[in-house]
Amino acid sequence: MTRPSGLAIYAFSYLAFLYLPVLFLPLFSFNDGTIVAFPIKGWTLEWYRQLGGQETLIQALVNSLGVGLTAALVSTSMGLFAARAYVRYRFRGSEASEGLVMLPLVIPGIIVASSMLVLFISIGIKPSLTAVILGHTFLALPFSVSIMKSAFDDFDPSLEEAAFDLGSGVIETFRRVTLPIVSPGIIASLLVTFTVSFDEFVLAFFLSGNQPTLPVYIWSQIRFPAKLPNTLALGSLLLLASVALLVVAEYFRRRSSKSTI
């Protein structure tokens, strides 16, 4: 081993700067005390145990899961068809429409959130989980489109032609050939879009009304110092779940680009 170079030290401190704060979350969630400060008073699982009994929390979790699942399903199915069209066909306005689909990635969330609130109220959709689902679908669409595009990029168009040539109709071809071949991409897209929705705060805060999602619930709890350790425990669990989901999603995304021959 040679002495660590300047570049290695830089890279290391960069990573530490990024991830050290995140590590404090699980660390203090096991702290046997309500004040978040060193030294650690002792180790406990009490904060995790208490989570089980909080009904509003459970309700927020159910809300989030419902919103996440619906937004993931809707945005992935939209992304599937959009991506196939972008990859397979040249049509007028294809680049413009792709640019529009990707736009949510760069518009500030607060702008999207406030404009959606105004829009939804003016067309009669009250702040509710439905409104959050619509907003999250919009936010998740660029993710599903880009994941599905990479799935279709390696998809040989003559596979669909071969199925058609062998007697399948259009729907049969889609079900027996297209869908199975891009299914790793679909799974990856479902997982990523679910995560996008599950973690999202700003839109949910504006649009959820009196049905908070989990991030909105956490924000509301942070104001009470006594509840802080609970929030830390909850946050740690969410962190774990998010990382796990993204790892699985990445696994499927890579499999989808390898599956074609």
Binding site: D156, S158, L159, E161, A162, A163, F164, D165, L166, G167, S168, G169, E172, R176, V177, P180, I181, S259, T260, I261
Partner: protein
Amino acid sequence: MTEKNIIQLQGIEKHFGSFTAVSELNLDLREGEFFSLLGPSGCGKTTALRMIAGFQELSAGKVIIDGQDMDGIPANRRPTNMVFQSYAIFPHLNVGNNVAYGLRNRGISKSEIDTRVSEALEMVELGGLQSRGATELSGGQRQRVALARALVMRPKVLLLDEPLSALDKKLREQMQFEMRHLQQELGITFVMVTHDQFEAMTMSDRIGVMFDGKLVQVDAPPTLYAKPCNREVASFIGEMNFLPATVAAETDNHLTISTPCFGTMEIERNPNVGQTGREIEIGIRPEQLEISAHKPDNYDGIVLGKIRDVAFYGENVHYHVQVDGVERSISASVPNYFHTVDYHPGDSVWLGVQGASIIELGQNQSKT
């Protein structure tokens, strides 16, 4: 092969915007023949094949398969099946399910599907490989699976789009014969698209040569080689020396011509060449030329020249001979009987040619 026409292409055309991919193509394919569409890339041969398959709509004309007009009949209901250039093996299915794919669309009983799949796999020498994964196959095996998957459907016509271009040379040559044997055993009409003249000549009963969207000549391989209909076909298939010539006299079957280097001689008319003027072009295959250090006897035309280049090909040697009165050197090939290269650049040699070996190519179109 029967006299029945299994496919009739009647003036089919395909335009993409202002670009004409296929223009007014008329062709009758006989039942049970191995037919190749041969031409350089971009000549429209694949488009023509895809119009037969039903993947490409016609801009004009008619495709008739087994007496039935295919207008409005989509690919999935045509009595044709296709082997794709990429083979298009379904990556998520194993070999058995790939081959069974089309049969499952037809409501055939499971036991019959199994029987037909294993027969088809036996036929392409992949017997017993049903459970092999599609991604575990070699290039040659994928080609065989693609063949089995199409043939198991018992199509009236099998369409093959550059079926051997993805294989290496040795395997390609082996598959040429296997596919030819398969076609003859089954008696199914094969229509193959290829840019490889050797492939087309080895496998086909007849070849259709296409340039720039037009079908230029349709003939059996030996005729195509001996009596090409124009300079383009002559230079695309095999090697050819081109020379200008002037017609001095003509009869129904023969022309008396004077050439810049071989003097005056009598040659056969080429029935595939259209109308002739006085200034014509002739072609001589390199292997039809005698090359000798001594003045040869018994040749209709002889000329003295100088070796410019020697190309050693292994099975034969090509000598490029510079001759007075001809701008480009004339290429003569000699089989490598004795593992020797007899002449070297700078050597003086005689070239001899028989009038019967000279191919009339019609009116001289070249600008030189």
